[in-house]
Subunit: 104 residues, 2 copies
């Protein structure tokens, strides 16, 4: 779980995951193109994502296809889900406060 | 979001959040006790959690009470929620595979 959260704590890595969810099996160079990411930096980010089990890489010839592997996110989301009642509670209190204010 | 995920990427910090969800308003020394955490290390973890907006600290006299502030977790969970269909899809494929195997 440390590795999952740590991998998600970077905007470039979250961008990569988002692109892979829209276009599965993108090559590394396709991933780099639209944001003109530098390849060495991108490769390091892909290593972090791969170590966290969030992507898989498949080499065929000279092309490396990257795919999303969302499994570890499930555990992370379940962990966060335990706290859902706390932010819901804060929202409820806020709504109550606003309604109180509105009362004649 | 970087700060939220980064703060959650440490087991001691996740332990602190979990304890605060069970016992809101614990003092720093109460937080340190059961796992005999060292105070300087714990203070640094609390700084990280506070910077990420995940806890609030209230000083009264010599005691600092710590409370959970779950708001930032909501955004993190919403981000993860976008990928839910991917792990559900993998599970569906797995179930289909097992059922195929079971077929006479």
């Amino acid at each position: 779980m440390d590795r999952t959260f740590s991998a998600l704590a970077d905007p470039t890595r979250r961008y990569v995951l988002q692109r892979l969810s829209d276009e599965p099996g993108l090559s590394v160079s396709e991933l780099a193109r639209p944001e003109s990411l530098k390849l060495p930096g991108l490769m390091k980010h892909l290593d972090v994502l791969s170590d966290a089990g969030l992507i898989t890489r498949t080499k065929s010839g000279r092309t490396v296809a990257v795919s999303l592997s969302a499994g570890p996110m499930q555990e992370a989301m379940e962990w966060l889900g335990r706290y859902e009642r706390f932010w819901t509670a804060s929202l409820d209190r806020l709504v109550a406060l606003v309604e109180e204010d509105d009362a004649p």
